[in-house]
Each structure stands twice: as structure tokens, then as C-alpha cells.
């Protein structure tokens, strides 16, 4: 079974430039997550999708970040314009809802996109 696919794996851009990351979740997984992992820290959730709907985007800096999940499968995360502080690894994860109100679903992570803003 294929895992979560992300591209590109690495991206170097200059500040104020736009950048986009792409994620293809595990087939059949209805929930998709974007995380940001700063150097030396654990990942932090940016946005969570249930199918096409963004159900938790409270940590997404909406002035420069945007995300979409058309057709409830692939997702794109965009930053425009990028700032130096956006340098981080951007992780995508997916899960499948087993039981509403039950244990937290297991999330499966992609390899991430390492962004460097110069």
C-alpha cells in the first residue's frame, strides 16, 4: 500500500516569493492534515480537512497561508509571500475515521517538504 506522498521534498526560495506544497493521502483516507515542524521541535497542526471541509484551521496564518483540498483527495498548501521565519519542514498526514467519538484515529505521515527561505 502506498503511503502519503508529498512533493517537492526540498524547496529553496527567496523571501517574498510564493511557494506551494502538494500532498496525496493514503487511498481511502478521508481526513488530511498539514503540520509545520520547526527545527528542534515537534510538529504543530496548521489545518485539518474532513473530506473537502477545513474543520480546524485555527493555527493557519491566514494572511499569507492558504490551503485547499479539492474533491476531498489531494491537497495543496500555499505560502504567499514567504518570510524567513517560514523555513521549516511541512508535513502532510492522513487518517481514516474508524469510530465517531472513539479513540483518536492513527495518523500516517508523509516524508515532508523541507522549505528554506533565504
Amino acid at each position: 500500500e502506498a503511503g502519503v506522498v508529498q512533493s517537492p521534498r526540498y524547496k529553496i526560495i527567496e523571501k517574498k516569493q510564493p511557494v506551494a506544497f502538494w500532498c496525496n493521502p493514503i487511498s481511502g483516507h478521508n481526513t488530511l492534515y498539514w503540520y509545520r515542524q520547526n527545527l528542534g521541535q515537534g510538529p504543530e497542526l496548521l489545518i485539518r480537512y474532513e473530506n473537502e471541509e477545513a474543520v480546524d484551521d485555527s493555527q493557519l496564518p491566514k494572511d499569507r497561508f492558504s490551503a485547499e483540498r479539492l474533491k476531498g483527495v489531494d491537497s495543496t498548501l500555499k505560502i504567499q509571500p514567504a518570510e524567513l521565519g517560514d523555513s521549516a519542514v511541512y508535513l502532510c498526514a492522513s487518517s481514516i475515521r474508524i469510530l465517531a467519538g472513539g479513540p483518536t484515529d492513527t495518523q500516517y505521515f508523509g516524508p515532508g517538504t523541507r522549505l528554506t527561505v533565504l
Partner: protein, 113 residues
């Protein structure tokens, strides 16, 4: 609110000796707890999860963790370290039924020959 504290940022062991990575959590509700491992330039891999069943949870690669509610701890152990265990380990808490993971800062495990 939920939070996780990993008590050691770095742990160093010799190959063949036991591993102990410590984690304390805070949760207002019945938590789900996880340990993930991250090898360099690779994605996070689930080692094990606790979801209110058995308090001693066995995971992959010989790792296990014990949920101790009275101590609010979920320490990760392995009887004998292998060189391939060298990686970053994250303790994670989530409120049962909510798919929001709160990660600890991570513990870097080094394994020496």
C-alpha cells in the same frame, strides 16, 4: 488543555543496553497517547498507541510503553538498543475522539557501539 513534556532532549545508550525515554502528559479528558519515531529525512512512523485498553502497550521493533494515570506518564522502553534505533522520538497526546495531536519537543536517541 492538553500538553506533553518529554523530560530528556537527548539520551545516549550503548548498543544492547536498555532504553528509557520519559514522557509526562497533561489532559483534562481521557487521553489517547502515542509514540512516533522520526529518522533523518524520513516521515514520522507510529511506534505504538494507547487508547484506554491495556495499560502496557507493545509496539513495533521491540518497543513498549506503560500508561500510568496516577503519575500522568507514558514512558517508552526497549530492553536492548540496536544501532538502527538512533532517531528522534516524539511523545504525543490527543483527546479521545478528537483528531488533534499535541507533540512533545522530542528526544534524540543516540546508540553507541
Amino acid at each position: 488543555a492538553q500538553s506533553v513534556t518529554q523530560l530528556d532532549s537527548h539520551v545516549s545508550v550503548s548498543e544492547g543496553t536498555p532504553v528509557l525515554l520519559r514522557c509526562n502528559y497533561s489532559s483534562s479528558y481521557s487521553p489517547s497517547l502515542f509514540w512516533y519515531v522520526q529518522h533523518p529525512n524520513k516521515g514520522l512512523q507510529l511506534l505504538l498507541k494507547y487508547t484506554s485498553a491495556a495499560t502496557l502497550v507493545k509496539g513495533i521493533n521491540g518497543f513498549e510503553a506503560e500508561f500510568k494515570k496516577s503519575e500522568t506518564s507514558f514512558h517508552l522502553t526497549k530492553p536492548s538498543a540496536h544501532m538502527s534505533d538512533a532517531a528522534e522520538y516524539f511523545c504525543v497526546v490527543s483527546v479521545r475522539g478528537y483528531n488533534k495531536l499535541i507533540f512533545g519537543a522530542g528526544t534524540r536517541l543516540a546508540v553507541h557501539p
